[in-house]
Point group: D2
Chain length 404, copies 4
């Protein structure tokens, strides 16, 4: 059996059964999520370039995109971007290599710009990347030493660090995650006047869940105030209906609020030109929003590491957060839906990424005795992930894995 994998029970109330829960998701159009997405797109583009040129990923960490808010004047029927938001892609990359005594420079910044623009164009239909943002990039060579670790065949941990993950999502988690995915997914065709900057927060006290959705509305699809008001009502109906589907049989009492900061009397509305609050007043940066499972969950263990933009080969802060979440999800499937599975993986700097110092799997359940029967399978699942860690990396590069 693989070393350093520990499965144990943990004697506490599973979070979903506790008194309080607070869960948040910054939707794909929130400035922090835009920063995360661009950081990750840049990393993926570099990975593809390195693999195509050298057959392997070279050192980089492009996890520092900074978004500076612009200025806009939204108006019914279509307003104006007065000043574009400024987006600076920042990070370390292998910008050149020495080959046979010659320096070969690599087009990191052009690849980064291309990937970022493509993402913005594809994801935000109401934003014109050419005139409504200014896109800058400062990617520099990393320090010599870090690049050294890439010369071995087995990838070595870049740091003494750790990752944490849990499963399954609680009903509060699912309400938050799936509501945002609904608004920015299947619902968009019905309501193109909803923007991508959607923030969903749910606080649960006992069985009462208050879910608050803040959704930027797109001015060109809204002709006047009454159209705005009826849009919000329509949005509320659709989200509520969808939430009921998510809840299903669960014993949850849902209260839903949409755009609570609106004040119709004072004409304070959440109206935007692009559906993105970066256009006016909201800066963003990497690692300040959702964790690798798509949520911010203060009542659960979380890693503070920015996952997006980190290299998917040696960066523990990225790999172990994703890995522990995936392990937890798989293990959870082999237990009962009520059990909370916590995975915490600790690295040892300089040791192979596939050989952590410890991989601790804790199963929180109301019947601790059950853990015994799940232990072997949990161990096997974890060992399987560690043995096939390349697969985790591949899925990150191909974009199959969520990082925010």
């Amino acid at each position: 059996m693989a070393k350093n994998i520990y499965v144990e029970t943990l004697d506490k109330t599973p979070t979903p059964m506790g008194q309080y829960e607070l869960v948040e998701r910054k939707g794909i159009g929130h400035p922090d999520s835009v920063a995360d997405a661009l950081a990750e797109e840049v990393s993926r583009a570099l990975c593809r370039m390195y693999k195509s040129e050298f057959g392997k990923v070279l050192h980089h960490n492009t996890d520092e995109t900074q978004i500076v808010a612009g200025m806009s004047k939204p108006a019914y029927g279509g307003g104006t971007i007065v000043n574009p938001a400024y987006i600076m892609l920042v990070g370390r990359a292998t910008t050149y290599v020495e080959e046979n005594g010659k320096t070969v420079s690599l087009p990191c910044i052009p690849e980064a710009l291309k990937a970022a623009t493509n993402y913005l164009r594809k994801t935000f239909p109401n934003l014109d990347p050419e005139s409504e943002i200014i896109l800058d990039a400062k990617l520099g060579q990393g320090s010599d030493d870090l690049r050294g670790v890439y010369q071995t065949s087995k990838f070595l941990a870049n740091d003494t660090s750790f990752g944490v993950g849990y499963a399954p999502y609680s009903i509060t988690d699912r309400l938050v995650l799936e509501t945002e995915e609904y608004i920015n997914g299947p619902m968009k065709k019905k309501m193109p006047q909803t923007g991508q900057d959607v923030k969903v927060m749910a606080s649960r006290v006992g069985r009462d869940v208050t879910m608050t959705v803040a959704c930027a509305m797109v001015d060109k699809h809204i002709e006047d105030k009454s159209a705005y008001i009826s849009s919000i009502e329509h949005l509320k109906d659709l989200v509520y209906e969808n939430a009921l589907k998510i809840i299903g049989d669960e014993d949850v009492n849902l209260i839903l609020d949409i755009n609570t900061a609106d004040d119709y009397d004072r004409d304070v509305l959440y109206l935007t030109c692009t559906g993105l609050s970066q256009e006016m007043g909201d800066d963003g940066s990497v690692g300040r929003g959702n964790r690798a499972n798509g949520l911010i969950t203060p009542f659960r263990p979380m890693s503070m590491e920015a996952t997006s933009g980190k290299n998917p080969i040696t960066h523990i802060g990225k790999i172990y957060n994703i890995l522990s979440t995936q392990m937890a999800e798989d293990i959870s499937k082999s237990t009962t839906p009520d059990a909370e599975v916590l995975v915490r993986i600790l690295s040892q700097i300089g040791s192979p990424v596939s050989e952590p110092l410890s991989c601790s799997i804790q199963i929180v359940t109301e019947n601790p005795r059950d853990v015994k029967k799940w232990k072997a399978e949990a161990h096997e699942i974890a060992a399987g992930y560690l043995a096939n860690i390349d697969k985790v990396t591949e899925n990150i590069i191909s974009g199959k894995t969520r990082t925010f």
Copy 2:
């Protein structure tokens, strides 16, 4: 008695008595800490300006400083900064106000630049802010709505959010925190060749603490390799000696490593021109390093909010993190050193900052019955803080309160 303050016992093993503990501190010269510090200095400068002009703090959140690494060629006896690091101060501020129908513009960026330069000059004696960094600033007006909350006399929470804090520091915590403070404090005179970029990490397994210090060395004070090696040895002696004082009577077995990435044979050393790794290969941004108590403590509850740079009037992510830490510290003094005090404060958007939705105080101790006798005092301490929340703000503005 003040509403919404709950004191209870929590049935778990206090963290310091658990099997594992992992604690880290990014020293004041780490790029993430430099970003934190500049963000906070800018906020404080704006507070002072607003108070001097208007008698009160106006809306701002300057928590987005971005540092892009430069390029350097360190060398024994003194090397060269080849390309300066680029530092961009970013955030939202009240850049103008309307008074009597006239627009009055406020010098936010000049005040920010001044504060940032002063801090850099005062804190990093080996850095020339004039030629070894490029300092830029993009501070824009926030969205109209957020500025509204400042027009009431009682400050209202900007968000549904929360803060967490704990006390007392464990011995692992103290080793990490006080080691960095020693190296960047009293020890500096003895060893000016140590830079400010000091990263301290300690992992405890049982009673064995492995503390790893990575300390950037300053090339101009080191004439050759043997001077470097003996400096590291000297540093190790001093830090070890100081650590023994910190440990005192505690039952701890300490292993100390300094600059483990060095490889003397391959001439890989942690040599810098400025004592700061931002000069070569390390980017930095706000909220990615230490929490408000100065530490990163994955085995304790942590808030992910960036504390530094946020406004100290309405921003829950700042105020409640600092407040909960200070409450915990005070409450802890009235219990036993072995008890772990956890404070978690939850806001209610739109309600006064001094009236949280809940202020939960959990006391973890091996003798849960003792909690009963501490309850009243804990409650009183918490109520006192909430009643005098202005004092918390004042201490932040005057720089008396740590934010990273």
Copy 3:
């Protein structure tokens, strides 16, 4: 008769008959010309926006675009842009107006970015504006006072300044101008491997004209060194053939050199990825290249004013340079081809643009007595231009008038 128009003869040898002539044209892809073009495109876009919003052009001068060279690695068959060139659009504009006590902000920067990107995409087929340049913009409000002059119905001169123009083009002028236009025009289909950065210089000593063409070649259309060499030979043949057409019956002895800095033995070639030398090593800025007639002619009177990007309503440095050139051309048609017509218009700050302090028309000819018979018509032509100065402005805004 219109006041202040003076027609006189000038007793000197017409420049085309003198011993020396030196004429240069920086083609449309030269970095200084790219800067000129972008500055002018931005001004035109602002004019259109102002006219569409307010029915008139508002104050602006966007004549400060700066291009910072990038880094490229051209290679036969197609190389790589390693670092994009950085292009910053700079200038003053009316970024907001006060209307009925309200501030209306105008989208100057988005309009500027759109105009600039469109121009680049349309003009430089081998450049990808999305990934091979970084486009930034800093357009700020001008000082209050200058904006005042726009409130009158007659536009007033912004400065005590002047413009100069001459006609007709000498044969040396035409060789330079028409060679560049040929290479970047009809010839492109035959030789797509020629880039847009074409610099043509001709020095004439007596009847001997040495014309030197430096033409950036586009790597992706050139598969190897021999293809490069034969391309240059082909280019030389085509340019020579075209030059013979330009020369026609004129008594000129032409020597033609192409890419003289090439050194085939040392493999020094003028190979580029984009056909633009801004990709590697050549910065550019406004007003440093061609004058308003498309040429640099050190042996003729020239104005040093940057014409491109200036507002076409009140800016003497722009309007009078264009006006004097157009006047000279028209007047020249009514004289003999051998006569040199010089026009110099001097403004009076604060007076209407259509009422210059003096408009001096000098006719240089070998038979000074002829001037007498041309005088009245010359006067009439000049008066007509001044009376219809709005037409000059309109043609600038619609892009019909050359500015570089």
Copy 4:
């Protein structure tokens, strides 16, 4: 006798005796002059660094500094810089060299920043470079080929180009030049309320000279409107008195205007915080202001080349403009003050700088026969300059030679 030096008479009226003359000087605080100065300071700093490291000047052309105006709110007694001006140092430099198979990087940007800041601090006492400007720098490696020319011992012309100069200064020239030097020199102690942004223009019609001075006033030294008005009156008196000294016995009728755009009734005044119009509304760039003799003289031959910031070793546009002016001045001393000496030097790309294609000296005088007796000396002076061209370079590097 040195080859290619031609001395001849030119049959025209010397400019100072013609009917019209227009002369302008942008003072040291005008944004275009600030750009020129910084470009030149950077070049000089690089020259010093290269000489100290390698014993010789390496390739660079740093002639592209761009100044983007800031925003200010001047007020009697001292106003506020609201947004700093943004200054970007741009150009090409030798940023690394290959030595013994190793790449040695050179600190071009830090040296540039240091030189620029020192100049600003030294020259503009009312500007705080730390908070009232943002100083950026983008200096990149030039293209390989240009660097090649530095490997020879004799420096070769970088281009087919030319320089022009004339002497002596006319009385109109001297009024303009010496008035600015007076205001920014000996007068400053008497009137610290005058800023450095001083623009002097003189137009002469016959013997009537109208001199217009626009001088930015410094708000902190001016307590109210009447103080402003009396300052302007005082300034006018001092400048007038000084102008009379300059005029001496010359037959000139002087009209003097100061700050003609002021409108006391509408409270339109030329009041600034820093004495520099870059603080509000005025951009600046290199090569757009004074020629190498300190003046803009549309009625004289001028080169359009930006002199400041060019390398002083091979750049014809710099060296020949300075050289021709110095030659003309020396030759002029050996003729009569009434004679106008014009020098025009033409380079041959690839030939040594000291061996121009032609050096044409034209002496314009009312008694053309006198030229004969001056010819030999003029020739000798010119030959002496060409033989000692290194001296010209040295004086540029040491800052003894004016470039704007």
